[in-house]
């Protein structure tokens, strides 16, 4: 977004550690670092994409932001207020301003609640309006996600809806409070392609119309490119690269981002897609911990430097940040070409 002056959300050195249970016999349990000192800002009105593979910590980041979990370290600021200590009224206000859309609409909706009850529940919880006003708000929210006429859906139950309809109900539930910030955690990974496109378009319309800021969590670079203004690539709890979506995808600098792009199935008239070849067979003898998390699989890495120290995220060009000692020269970009097919 052009207006970079006003961050709405800011993460500062955010870390999260999960402790695995101590086994009855043998090992004494260990710590899994899901997020390791992550910092970024999300600006008002933008769609920010957090891209990573499973286990990268992307969902954990989302859950921390909506306060479903507590960080081990670090701060989260929403509109300049530190949310980690929120209690009472401040917490209730926060819950109204920040909403989440979950990955699996087959699990995130209560099977015993009708659509009307599902979507109006947040209004009841926050004591907004009376019965009639609530129904009106619910209707509006349903229309905004394309479930219209709303009366066809209000009295249905989740099992009477298709996957795409369920996810739209979940979005309506998030939108009915008119939030400022929404975390969308892989909202389309359970849906078919044609339905996913619908959800993408709904999110992008919401942003336009409602002046909303969205954190879009996804494993798909193509989806992130389509929807996001900026993206951050995360790997094993570390931010590897961050920048304007188009720039990061066309001109990736981090060997990991490059490996990700290499791995996408390609077909069609792509021209000569550059192959970076930065991935190698994992080196099982690589030391764990201190170094760059991608080091054991990185072809570019230097044994002592990358194996022992984690590079900092540094700006290499206008708002394009990379955490790598050996930022690859990137004069060659993915050629324009026609659209070809990539995995979603």
């Amino acid at each position: 977004m052009e207006d970079k002056t006003k961050p709405i959300l800011e993460l500062e050195n955010l870390s999260k550690v999960y402790r695995t249970k101590r086994a009855l016999f043998g090992d004494s349990g260990s710590d899994v670092i899901a997020l390791n000192r992550i910092s970024f800002k999300i600006f008002e009105g933008e769609i920010f994409g957090l891209v990573g593979e499973s286990g990268s910590g992307k969902t954990t980041a989302g859950r921390l932001i909506v306060k479903l979990e507590k960080p081990a370290e670090g701060k989260i600021y929403l509109e300049n207020a530190d949310i980690t200590g929120f209690k009472g009224k401040a917490l209730r206000d926060f819950r109204r301003k920040v909403q989440m859309i979950f990955q699996d609409p087959y699990q995130s909706l209560n099977p015993q609640l009708s659509v009307l009850n599902t979507v109006s529940e947040p209004l009841t919880v926050h004591k907004i309006g009376n019965g009639k006003a609530r129904q009106e708000l619910v209707r509006q929210a349903m229309k905004s996600v394309g479930l219209s006429p709303p009366d066809d859906y209000l009295h249905r139950y989740p099992h009477q809806l298709s996957g795409g309809q369920r996810q739209r109900v979940a979005i309506a539930r998030a939108m009915v409070l008119n939030p400022r910030f929404v975390v969308a955690d892989e909202p389309t990974s359970m849906l078919d392609a044609s339905i996913s496109a619908q959800i993408f378009n709904i999110l992008s319309e919401m942003r336009e119309k409602l002046d909303l800021t969205i954190l879009f969590i996804t494993h798909s670079l193509a989806a992130a490119r389509y929807l996001c203004d900026r993206i951050a690539v995360i790997y094993r709890g570390h931010l590897m690269e961050m920048g304007p979506a188009e720039e990061v995808i066309r001109n990736p600098k981090h060997p990991y981002t490059q490996a990700l792009i290499d791995a996408l199935p390609k077909f069609g008239d792509c021209g000569d897609v550059k192959h970076y070849g930065t991935l190698r067979r994992a080196d099982s003898e690589a030391p764990e911990g201190a170094g760059c998390p991608f080091y054991p699989r990185c072809k570019v890495a230097h044994r002592t430097k990358c194996g022992t120290g984690m590079p900092r995220l540094e700006e290499i060009s206008d708002s394009h940040l990379v955490a790598c000692y050996y930022t690859m020269p990137g004069d060659e970009t993915i050629p324009e070409g026609d659209a070809c097919f990539y995995a979603t």
Partner: protein
């Protein structure tokens, strides 16, 4: 002669709500050493076709019409025991959700050995284990991990073990149903490369079933697009993806976000798939088709030959 020829296949399920026609009039053929991909959204019948080829339809499912000629032999006329001798030995399957396809209480090595021994009982246990070793090498599982249990494997490794199991009896045909759906892109890429290499090396024919056009486009020679139980377009991957004909194929392609090219607005397919318990008499896609005419609603669509091998179940796409 083609290795596999399927003619006018019709498959239905008896359900509580009535008879559901899951696959209607599907015909295709597959040459030796080639790969064919079926793409379609959930409920289009692609997995049902795979299950029918394996003779593994659930009890409420049945083939009502058609022939499945495998090496010239109609699989539908075979008895259960005859089918058993073909299954896994001649036709193997990589099941969807490989994560759950293995028995958690047996070592991975033993499970693959079991598949080998079941089809070759004369083989000794140690010989079978030797074969497993070779297979695991082939798919890239380190020897040290052979005696692990499935839960000790990562998703990618489990998928590799499942592929090893499918290869165990040197089949002519492997059916891979969403083989990489739950995997990360880097692992997916490795598995797909591995599969292609093995396929070339052993001259195995493959049928890929997936909802993701990019995967199928990446690995298959021929593509079949399925919608609501019907094959709606069929041709080489170049033909189907560079000059898609059926409106559904076009709609499906333009609902995918891409990494290159111009960033245009995605066009979702509005509406919903028809109910297959009482399928519409005309074209099954006509309710969602931007170019539908009134006759589309009533008259069953006919095949249009676009090229020598490229056909589409729509005569009005031009």
């Amino acid at each position: 002669m083609a290795l596999l020829e399927v003619e006018n296949l019709n498959i239905g399920y008896r359900t509580r709500k009535g008879y559901l026609q899951a696959v209607a009039g599907v015909s295709f053929s597959l040459e030796e050493g080639k790969s064919l991909g079926f793409v379609g959204e959930s409920g289009c019948g692609k997995t049902t076709i795979g299950m029918a080829l394996m003779g593994l339809l659930p009890p409420n499912g049945m083939v009502t019409k058609g022939r499945i000629l495998f090496e010239g032999q109609d699989l539908l006329t075979l008895s259960d025991s005859e089918m058993r001798s073909i299954r896994w030995k001649r036709i193997a399957m990589i099941f969807q959700a490989a994560m759950n396809a293995m028995n958690p209480v047996h070592r991975v090595e033993d499970q693959v050995a079991e598949a080998i021994l079941a089809h070759d009982p004369d083989l000794g246990k140690s010989d079978a284990k030797k074969q497993v070793e070779g297979l695991f090498q082939l798919v890239g599982i380190p020897e040290a991990r052979m005696r692990d249990y499935p839960h000790q494997y990562s998703g990618g490794m489990k998928q590799r073990a499942i592929i090893a199991m499918a290869l165990a009896c040197h089949p002519k045909l492997i059916i891979a149903d969403e083989p990489t759906t739950a995997l990360d892109v880097i692992v997916q890429d490795q598995i797909l490369k591995e599969t292609r290499k093995l396929q070339r090396e052993f001259g195995i024919s493959m049928i890929f079933i997936s909802h993701d056009i990019s995967i199928v486009a990446d690995v298959c020679h021929d593509i079949g697009i399925m919608y609501a139980g019907q094959l709606v377009e069929y041709g080489s991957r170049e033909e189907v993806f560079q000059s898609p004909c059926h409106p559904y194929t076009r709609a499906l392609i333009s609902s995918y976000p891409t990494l290159t090219g111009k960033k245009s607005r995605l066009t979702p397919i509005s509406g919903e798939t028809p109910n297959l318990i009482n399928p519409p008499s005309g074209c099954r896609f006509c309710d969602r088709c931007p170019g539908a005419k009134t006759s589309c609603k009533t008259d069953p669509p006919a095949w249009e030959e676009v090229g020598p091998r490229h056909r589409a179940l729509c005569q009005d796409f031009r």
